[in-house]
Amino acid sequence: MNSETSFKRPALLAAVLIVLIALPTIADATGYSALTSLATRILIYGIAAASLNLVLGYGGLVSFGHAAFFGIGGYVVGILYQHYSLEEPLFGFIPGTNQMLITLPAAILISGLAAAAIGALSLRTGGVQFIMITLAFAQMLFFLFVSLKTYGGDDGLIIRRTNELPGLNMRDKHTVYYVCLVITAAFFALLWRIVNSRFGNVLVGLRQSEKRMAAIGLPAYRYRLMAFIISGMGCGLAGALMANFLRFASPDMMHWTKSGELMVMVILGGVGTLFGPLIGAAVFIVLETTLASWTENWQLALGFILLFVVLYTHGGVQALVLRLAHRPENRNRFSESTMRRFKVLERPLRVRKDARRSNGKR
């Protein structure tokens, strides 16, 4: 029995959804209109982190290169927009576009293809090698886009207008927020089905014991690859939304520190839980915003908070809240099964702390 209980609390879920729907109105009424933008970013990162969590939390595969797919999603939107505005087809025959109904599926498709290629090679390794090889691929893509002067190189690509959706005014911040909210809701509903399906079942089985799964006749590679592809597609979707929201795509989207941030969100929220990454994204972005306004060394403070979460909450903020809410049946479950998951994560965490340090200098 996994932690996919979130959907089994429909009341809580409905309450959260109502708050999210009312959020722009509340934000405007209380004078904190920046809240809507903050929430949009949280939703988008929530999609990316939950996608990463499919391989990391459910599959037990520590990918340190998921920003690559986030960045690819962003660049698909950016590149299609550039060709649209310059009115010259990509490769001479693919017309550019500013239509979200085309750019999002395109972003999902291309990042899925990239994930298939990267996954097919990386998944032949395991453990620390897997971490390093996914990181290496992401960095290769990062440098590729830095060197692509046609698409802005180091500076990135400016997208003058958010992609259009028929019948909607996408220049309105609220509309963009609601579009993201609908997509996020659909994404999590889909993810919920996936993690509870036969596919999810073998994926979680592989995380627990690859040896056992082989002994009952499961060929692991193809299922892991599929999980990696789905996960890459989700990150691509998030990247495409982010490019639309920021009206900007840059190599920074695929920098390894971005992969680290996604990982931190997953860990903050709760590894291997459905909504944990979304909560983690919220905590991360709120912390980032508030800490950054207090101190320049906000990353250091964030590092300490992360350390606390990993050492003391045994399963991220979601588990902490459940435990504080005093549900004894949850207590056992989290301490045992989640601690096992963290064993996988001890290593990347150490790497991650270094990431924070060098990021600070950058």
């Binding site: 029995m1 399906s197 036969r198 596919f199 073998v202 627990q208 002994a215 006749g217």
Partner: protein, 252 residues
């Protein structure tokens, strides 16, 4: 003579300088329980791992019912009807007993590229898993997390999962190890009851169990089969008595 269900020829496995499997020839006939005994470190587990394809032998061939397994990965061997239990139990600890069994049923039913239907509400899996648990000591424990099971229950679950794959040949790696007397007797009864359904290669230190169940016995010492024959032949074999059984009826 009928075609053996398992036919091992000239199997060799080296770990550096150590010869863990030393030109082993071994057959298991259909419907037979073939016991493999030998002192600690004789290479019994190593042999089973090679039969399953988890370890690659340096030399030799393995056939299941006349079909060569040498080029096949573990998953395909399981598909052809090979299943094992683990000496040191290897289960999915975050899952319940019935989840573990149902997952084996799921994998046997075909590919798992199904993304929509809730697997825990899938009656074709739950019902068969329940049936497999019926009559075993695990029946009342079906919804218990594996991590909370006793050692004996885990051993029982190992067997139930292996059976869920519907094997033609079961490779049992010390199924009684660590069990109490009552549990051992239950396990012996269970295995006896399975005798008509499935052939078995039984690795076991418990000589009572071996003598109670086996049709034939092979003795492995330092990776080499030093004797093979009926229960009585092995009992009388002087080489076996000195090398393995020790003096008198002293069990290992």
């Amino acid at each position: 003579m009928t075609q053996p269900i398992l036919n091992v020829r000239g199997l060799v496995k080296r770990f550096g300088g150590l010869l863990a499997t030393d030109h082993v020839d071994l057959t298991v006939q259909p419907g037979e329980i073939h016991a493999l005994i030998g002192p600690n470190g004789a290479g019994k587990t190593t042999l089973i791992s090679q039969l399953m394809g988890e370890l690659k032998p340096n030399e030799g061939t393995v056939e299941l019912a006349g079909q060569s397994l040498d080029a096949l990965p573990t998953a395909q061997r399981v598909g052809l009807g090979l299943a094992r239990t683990f000496q040191i139990t290897c289960l999915l600890p975050d899952y319940t007993v019935i989840d573990n069994v149902a997952l084996a049923v799921q994998v046997r039913q075909g590919h798992s590229f199904r993304f929509w239907k809730n697997v825990r509400a899938d009656h074709s899996l739950r019902d068969e898993a329940s049936t497999l648990l019926t009559g075993t000591g695990l029946e009342p424990r079906a919804n218990e997390l594996v991590a909370n099971l006793s050692h004996g229950e885990q051993k029982q679950l190992e067997l139930t999962i292996a059976l869920a794959t519907q094997p033609r040949l079961l490779l049992l790696d010390e199924p009684m190890a660590g069990l109490g007397h009552v549990e051992s007797q239950q396990m012996i009864e269970t295995l006896r009851g399975l005798k008509n359904q499935v052939s078995m290669l039984l690795v076991e230190h418990d000589m009572d169990a071996v003598f109670a169940l086996a049709d034939r016995i092979s003795v492995l010492v330092y990776g080499r089969v030093i004797a093979s024959g009926s229960v009585d032949e092995i009992r009388q074999n002087p080489e076996v008595r000195t090398a393995y059984l020790g003096e008198g009826d002293e069990l290992c």
